[in-house]
């Protein structure tokens, strides 16, 4: 139904896509996999009409198409659901679905009732109970994606592209999304599904297309291929264990959190992290893990409780004090929190150190550049130049820049929120090895992760959170998928 052959797209000297090739049939779910920087996102943006390819053949139902805008692509029946949907928070759910093409009443004015009716009908078809008249603000990412899908259906989308839709979803939410996707497939929609999670790809998809370094590699029927083969094709080489964790000597207590509470967010959180230890905070999305970490680091306030670093109490609500005490924070959202995207690689690396290269109040540029170079080299940041904006790097390399920035401060404790979110398999194991080696050097690590294999493979201890409380503390030996999932969901069950 949709076929793209040999599409190329370059930005300045950077070739984002050299041979973008994919063919999506009606009534199939087609996976697109590849490392970060493999060109998946660029391909998606070409399908979405956001980019115009420099060359290549793009056909829809056999007819060649040249989209000049997103509107043209939408009109032709292609809808794209992004990882983080962009709804208008102040508008209602129904208004979001019908934005720009609201149903009109007899008076030529927008008919709210009609809009609500149509929206309810859409949600009914999807089998998802969302109130069309509530504001979009405060909806979970999962619900926002469902709304985007509803919008796509209301546009009679023939091809639905989902760009890493599950990255921010918890297990139950993923299942619901898959159910919706399967239902759409059975009605003849072609779905392109992009994901880094192989279990999902193999569970959901009918065919898999692999890309590497901006080029098409191969397409397989899911039933006739193994994970190992796909991974080999993606990275062009065999990768070792996905989650290496070297043994490390566990030392003194670095971070102690005692009875930390913030009303409505988390309650009575107590734990400690010792030198050389990796402690994982596991749980469903929305359990309050990131919120605890932010409060510990001083980004957000807390109502009661105490945080201390090596026995000394840490001032609340003061990231500067936290950094001075030897804490580092690799946030979950690289683009908004971890990096200053338009600033150069060098400036980003040295941002945490800006007070260290100071002679008589002025920054010593030579020292600064040397340090930036040194750290990017150690972490093997692949950038054209230290002076290029970090926004030009791939996700994995951006994460390395964030890590470099904090490692350069020589921290005692590193909080890492979703260390490998949106990072491809090859770089993932690099990041894991890095974290493990840091622990080996005596750095205490508090890791927040929604990926169970990552938690189980990396952590010395697993703290499981549910609805703002710690519900289990498991040692490496006792932690298995069942015990963690049980503590994360347990008696009260998961609320939709």
């Amino acid at each position: 139904m949709l076929s793209l052959t040999g599409a190329a797209k370059t930005f300045g000297p950077v070739v984002a896509l050299a041979d973008g090739t994919v063919e999506i049939r009606a009534g199939e779910i087609h996976a697109l996999v590849g490392e970060n920087g493999a060109g998946k996102s660029t391909l998606v943006k070409i399908l979405a009409g956001l980019y115009h390819p420099d060359s290549g053949d793009f056909r829809l139902s056999g007819e060649p198409v040249h989209f000049r805008s997103v509107a043209e692509s939408k009109a032709a029946g292609i809808s794209v659901i992004y990882q983080e949907p962009t709804l208008f928070p102040d508008l209602t759910v129904a208004e979001n679905i019908f934005i720009g093409r609201q149903p009109k009443g007899r008076s030529r004015l927008i008919s709210r009732a009609e809009m609500r009716r149509q929206a309810s009908e859409l949600f009914g078809r999807l089998g998802v109970p969302i109130d069309p008249s509530r504001a979009a603000e405060g909806l979970s990412i999962a619900d926002q994606q469902i709304i985007e899908i509803a919008k796509a259906i209301s546009l009679d989308a023939r091809v639905l592209v989902m760009d890493e839709p599950t990255a921010a979803l918890s297990g139950v939410e993923v299942e619901r999304l898959f159910a919706v996707a399967r239902a759409l497939r059975d009605k003849g929609t072609g779905i392109l599904f992009i994901s880094h999670r192989f279990d999902e790809v193999f569970d959901l998809c009918d065919r898999i297309t692999v890309m590497r370094d901006g080029r098409y590699i191969a397409t397989h029927r899911t039933a006739e291929v193994t994970v190992e083969k796909i991974v080999r094709e993606m990275v062009g080489r065999d990768i070792g264990t996905l989650f290496p964790k070297a043994e490390a000597d566990i030392g003194h207590t670095v971070l102690k959190v005692d009875g930390l509470s913030r009303s409505g967010v988390f309650r009575d959180i107590s734990f400690d992290v010792r030198a050389g230890e990796i402690v994982a905070l596991a749980g469903l999305v929305g359990a309050g893990r990131t919120e605890v970490a932010r409060a510990v680091f001083g980004i957000d306030p807390y109502d009661s409780g105490q945080v201390s670093v090596e026995g000394k109490p840490l001032k609340a609500r003061n990231p500067q004090a936290a950094i001075a005490a030897g804490l580092g924070f690799v946030p979950e959202d690289r683009r908004k929190q971890g990096l200053v995207m338009n600033l150069s690689v060098a400036r980003n690396v040295t941002l945490t150190l800006r007070n260290k290269f100071v002679t008589a109040g002025l920054i010593n540029g030579g020292k600064e550049r040397a340090a930036a170079k040194e750290w990017s080299k150690r972490l093997q940041v692949k950038a054209g130049s230290q002076e290029h904006a970090v926004s030009t790097l791939s996700g994995g390399n951006q994460q390395k820049v964030v890590l470099a920035k904090w490692l350069a401060t020589d921290p005692k404790l590193l909080i890492i929120d979703e260390p490998t979110r949106g990072i491809d398999v090859g770089t993932k194991s690099e990041v894991h090895r890095l974290i493990s080696d840091l622990a080996g050097r005596g750095i205490a690590i508090l890791m927040i992760s929604s990926e169970l294999p990552e938690v189980l493979g990396m952590a010395d201890r697993v703290l499981v959170m549910r609805e703002g409380r710690i519900t289990a503390q498991l040692d490496r030996a006792d932690a298995d998928p069942e015990s963690v999932m049980h503590a994360a969901t347990s008696s009260t069950g998961v609320t939709e």
């Binding site: 929190q337 945490t352 920054i363 080996g440």
Partner: protein, 372 residues
């Protein structure tokens, strides 16, 4: 604390990631020197130089110490206020109340002087008033977190209104002769006003603050992403607060200068100056969206607008035309970067199409990955 080891000399090797994957060939970016020579603010400087050369040749009486003197005397208020304004716009904020603060200072100066206070005390109180006005802006914007555009539109009216309350429709003109004479005096035969020494010191102060201190680094980071700045321990609110205080103080200095230069304290002094300042700052290459801009570029922007106006005036062009030209320049300075980007994109796309139509498999400019 980790101050003991400099990061560049930490002895323990950091785990090095898997190195079997070769680096993609480096895209041919501009090198450091080329980048600086073709940057947005460098272009403003070239345009300024080109214009000055043209004017010196084509316009009679332009190249003379008299010109230098009057031109600089005219641009000093804009030049002064443009300094803190640059820093504020780099953080992604704005201060529209600057001219009103200058006007309020001027009015206050007239009333206090007329009341018989010592002139130095009067000057000190005026400066304090400017600082106070800046603190008021800073409190609303940095502490309460209100949008700077709305706050300073409010204080633009408020401070101008206060100026009217203070001095009414009166004007005070009998300032001490030696002082007013000093403010229009020149350095020998060069034609350069003596006060330029102070102005240059202020320019150097803000230039160093923005480009060579950790504080300045923080401002660029804030301009791009306040949240990311927060995560690396930059105190966004405190930085903003002090910028508005600095802006208030410098605006007060500009008000004092204005009063003494024209020997007239009135409530409507310097009105509309905020637009000239912002126009010059943007022309100097500062991005209105924050995160971009340099002090040398802004100085060039101010001087460009100033000398253009002066040249047109020498050519007996009316004020209406002057304002129109300033407006067009401003729009051009905002639009030019986008046009430049569009042209580059188009040329690049054409080149790429050609290279692909030759259909070499690796004609992509990027080395094929070593592991196939």
């Amino acid at each position: 604390m980790s101050e003991t080891t400099t990061p560049s000399s930490t002895p323990t090797a950091v785990p090095v990631a898997d190195s079997t994957k070769p680096l993609a060939t480096e895209p041919k970016g501009k090198t450091g020197a080329a980048r600086i020579l073709t940057s947005r603010d460098a272009i403003t400087i070239y345009v300024l130089l080109a214009f000055l050369m043209y004017a010196a040749i084509a316009i009679p009486r332009f190249a003379s110490p008299v010109t230098t003197g009057f031109l600089l005397l005219d641009v000093i208020p804009v030049l002064l206020i443009a300094m803190p304004m640059t820093l504020i716009i780099v953080t992604g904020e704005i201060d529209l109340s600057v001219a009103s603060i200058a006007g309020l200072t001027s009015a206050l100066m007239g009333v206090l002087w007329a009341a018989g206070l010592d002139i130095w005390l009067v000057l000190a109180l005026c400066l304090l008033a400017g600082i106070g006005a800046g603190m008021f802006n800073g409190f609303l914007i940095a502490v309460l977190g209100l949008p700077s555009l709305a706050v300073t539109i409010g204080t633009l009216a408020l401070f101008r209104g206060l100026a009217l309350v203070v001095i009414g429709d009166n004007a005070v003109a009998n300032f001490p002769k030696p002082l007013t004479a000093f403010f229009t005096s020149k350095l020998g035969a060069t034609g350069i006003p003596t006060v330029m020494i102070g102005v240059v010191l202020i320019m150097v102060f803000f230039g160093v603050l923005l480009h060579f201190t950790p504080f300045g680094r923080g401002l660029y980071a804030m301009g791009y992403s306040k949240e990311a700045a927060n995560f690396v321990g930059i105190d966004v609110a405190r930085s903003k607060f002090w910028l508005y205080v600095a802006s208030g103080a410098v605006s007060a200095l500009a008000g004092i200068y204005w009063t003494l230069r024209y020997t007239s304290a009135r409530s409507d002094n310097a009105s509309g100056l905020e637009l000239a300042v912002i126009a010059a700052v943007l022309l100097g290459g500062v991005s209105i969206f924050g995160g971009k801009g340099t002090i040398p570029g802004v100085v060039a922007g101010v001087l460009l607008i100033g000398s253009l106006n002066y040249a047109l005036r020498l050519g007996r062009v009316s004020d209406v035309v002057l304002i129109t030209v300033t407006g067009l320049l401003l729009i051009f300075s905002v639009v030019a970067p986008s046009i430049g980007a569009a042209v580059r994109e188009w040329r690049h796309a054409r080149r790429v199409r050609q290279s692909f139509s030759r259909s070499t498999p690796a004609g992509s400019g990027r080395a094929p990955d070593g592991v196939q």
